[in-house]
């Protein structure tokens, strides 16, 4: 693993009371995951799931309340000097809002040159290197784009610039937070194809943060599903999409529109009641139980154990054993608590 989250927790202060005691937003609770070289891991969840906060902690933009980010096996908090700089090159980020993530006062050339300067490209070589990057992300001829300001570009072109800026420092991992969600359908496909090509050419690993399961299915090898700050299910994409164990994963899949009217009409849809509860006061026991269509008494009281559902496929659900027919006893799965998380 190049980039790892180990038991990350992030709590934000949420107001103060008169006695000085703060309430805390539990944005992320005990999340562990890892991105390997040339691999794509998808982090899936709805708003309030904490997926963006996990991404920001992995990029070093937020400091975890507890837990550690590890880069090439070393704890981020222990990195200093040269190795800290290596982490900075090694992990880059692409954001959802292509316009907001480019400085409106800078030309494309300037934006890329700043990034290249960070990597130590000498001033005289930066213009050419910037042009090469533009070609690499499919903006040709580069001369046309170098002098432009972000507002003079289309959304798809801007997102390509964002990818180019991330590539400028030759990263090992790119954290892409909803990189195509704001783009039009045809442009979205262009960016996804670009990202896949870059991965093949540069062996770059992606942490692909998205709420769009259809996109995730086409890009990711492994999927982590989050709900209210916690991982509820993780595993190989095929397994999680094909045989979801957690009722939330199942509901998410069932709620995702199917672009096929015949299938759409045949499909049994699970409509979850209500909304995601506030992360200030997450429900006790399994946080999903108030919306869960199959919740039983124990779900309201006890935190669910991990259930092993196959090679690298784990879910946290009391009913997991019943939902995965080939698992015999719940004790077998309980032993996995430490092993899998």
């Amino acid at each position: 693993m190049i980039l790892e989250a180990r038991d990350l927790t992030k709590r934000f202060p949420w107001g103060r009371t008169f006695t000085g005691v703060r309430a805390w937003v539990r944005a992320v609770e005990g999340v562990s995951l890892g991105v390997a070289e040339g691999d794509t891991l998808a982090l899936v969840g709805e708003s309030g799931s904490g997926k963006t906060t996990v991404g920001r902690m992995l990029a070093g933009l937020e400091t975890p309340t507890s837990g550690e980010v590890h880069y090439r096996g070393q704890a981020l908090s222990a990195l200093a000097g040269e190795s800290r700089r290596e982490f900075r090159y090694g992990v880059q980020m692409v954001f959802q809002d292509s316009q907001a993530s480019l400085n409106p006062r800078k030309t494309v050339a300037r934006i890329l040159e700043v990034a290249l300067s960070v990597r130590g490209v000498p001033a005289g070589a930066r213009r050419d290197a910037a042009a090469d990057l533009l070609v690499e992300v499919g903006l040709e001829p580069p001369g046309v784009f170098l002098g432009r300001f972000p507002h003079q570009l289309s959304g798809g072109q801007r997102q390509r610039i964002n990818v180019a800026r991330a590539l400028a420092v030759d990263p090992a991992v790119i954290i892409a937070d909803e990189p195509v969600s704001a783009l039009d359908l045809s442009v979205r496909a262009q960016i996804l194809v670009l990202m896949q090509r870059l991965q093949q050419q540069r062996r770059v690993g992606y942490l692909f943060i998205s709420h769009d399961l259809a996109v995730v299915r086409s890009v990711a090898r492994r999927v982590v599903v989050m709900y209210l700050g916690r991982i509820v299910e993780e595993g190989p994409t095929e397994a999680v999409f094909g045989r979801p164990v957690h009722p939330y994963t199942e509901a998410l899949l069932s709620a995702t529109p199917v672009p096929n009217p015949r299938l759409a009409r045949l499909r049994r849809r699970i409509i979850l009641p209500g909304d995601v509860p506030s992360p200030v006061a997450p429900p006790p026991g399994c946080a999903f139980h108030p919306r869960c269509p199959v919740a039983v008494e124990i779900c309201r009281r006890e935190f669910p154990p991990p259930v092993h559902a196959g090679e690298g496929h784990t879910a946290l659900c009391h009913l997991g054993a019943r939902r995965v027919p080939h698992i015999k006893s719940p004790t077998a799965s309980r032993n996995l608590r430490t092993a899998s998380m």
């Binding site: 709805e46 708003s47 289309s154 798809g156 039009d184 359908l185 045809s186 442009v187 979205r188 496909a189 262009q190 996804l192 194809v193 896949q196 709420h211 399961l213 259809a214 996109v215 299915r217 086409s218 994409t237 095929e238 999409f241 509901a251 998410l252 899949l253 069932s254 709620a255 995702t256 529109p257 199917v258 672009p259 096929n260 009217p261 015949r262 299938l263 759409a264 849809r269 409509i271 979850l272 009641p273 209500g274 909304d275 995601v276 919306r291």
Partner: protein, 327 residues
């Protein structure tokens, strides 16, 4: 209104917006019809003119400069474009209602949501029954405990509940047609499913027709019977949903479908439409899609394609379907 006639009929609609760069032809000759109780999807990317088409029906424009320069819009046999502004105001929210992507904009933050729903009713029918009708509407859109929700303020509701409150406002007068512009785009998937479920139920229970404006072909597949695909101000393909998804006739529709990912199969993206929607003030000559078209022919560069009929309700504006042309 005859029982068999369409509820909504749009013929050759042109809506233009003069700008410093030139005239933006946002809607450039759109025709479509919608039967009572039917559901149609108006699909397109940004800049396709789908939202402007929706606004044109109600003559509600986000910019004052927008003008309907040509065309006819008939609602239940009534010519809408000849109505005065006052008469149009009675149509809006009465026979035709519209909901938008961002629900918060349409709710007054200082009034309880129920009162706002009731007011939408009272404007037309007086306050006498307004409260009862509002509670009924809140129940129809699936809000839990409608009597209680009536008294709550918009900020006390979640995004999904707010969107349903807005839908309640739209349907409280029992419109014959609901125009929904990206009603679920800003919502989470599970909340989107709730809203789509509500829209489907309203159609069944109220016999309401639905014109869904969206960029999401998945959503269209879920709830629309017919689909109209828009590109750069025109409907370039119309068909029953099953036909369109199974055998799209226009290269643009084919490209869109190829780019639409499903969750049932891990399909690598193979075909990608290059480029982007053209500037509506400077449309290319000939077919407006030809600069991006993978199957472009010489004719496409000079002549605008007419509508070709592929099936009973399957219409495509593309030279590929001219007799004698390749498939």
């Amino acid at each position: 209104m005859s029982a068999s006639g369409p509820l909504l009929l749009i013929e050759d609609l042109h809506t233009h917006i003069p700008t410093p760069r030139g005239v933006v032809r946002a809607v450039d000759g759109v025709s479509l019809s919608l039967a009572p109780g039917a559901s149609a999807g108006l699909v397109g990317e940004s800049g396709s003119g789908k939202t402007m088409t929706g606004f044109s029906i109600l003559r509600l424009f986000p910019t004052q400069a927008a003008r309907i320069v040509r065309g006819r819009i008939t609602l239940a046999g009534r010519e809408l474009l000849s109505l005065t502004e006052e008469e149009m105001r009675r149509v809006r929210g009465g026979e035709v209602a519209m909901i938008f992507q961002d629900p918060t904009t349409y709710l007054d933050p200082v009034l309880p949501v129920g009162q706002q729903v009731a007011e939408a009713y009272a404007v037309r029918h007086g306050w006498e029954q307004a409260r009862a009708k509002a509670v009924e509407a809140l129940a129809l859109v699936g809000l839990p405990d409608p009597g209680e929700t009536y008294r709550r303020f918009p900020h006390e509701l979640s995004g999904g509940m707010r969107q349903r409150a807005v839908i309640a406002m739209a349907i409280v007068c029992r419109p014959a047609l609901l125009i929904a512009d990206e009603p679920s785009t800003a919502l989470d998937v599970t909340i989107q499913a709730q809203v789509l479920d509500v829209l489907g139920r309203l159609r069944r229970e109220m016999g309401m027709a639905l014109l869904l404006i969206t960029h999401d072909l998945g959503v269209v597949a879920e709830i629309c019977e017919t689909v109209h695909v828009m590109y750069a101000g025109r409907i370039i393909e119309s068909a029953p949903a099953e036909v369109l998804f199974a055998s799209p006739g226009h290269p643009y529709t084919q490209g869109l479908l190829a780019a639409t990912l499903g969750i049932d199969e891990a399909r690598p993206i193979t075909r990608v439409l290059e480029g982007a929607v053209p500037d509506l003030a400077r449309l290319p000559r000939g077919c407006r899609f030809h600069p991006r078209c993978p199957a472009v022919m010489q004719r496409c560069r000079v002549e605008d394609p007419p509508a070709f009929r592929l099936g009973e309700d399957h219409i495509v504006e593309c030279w590929l379907h001219a007799s004698g042309a390749a498939p």
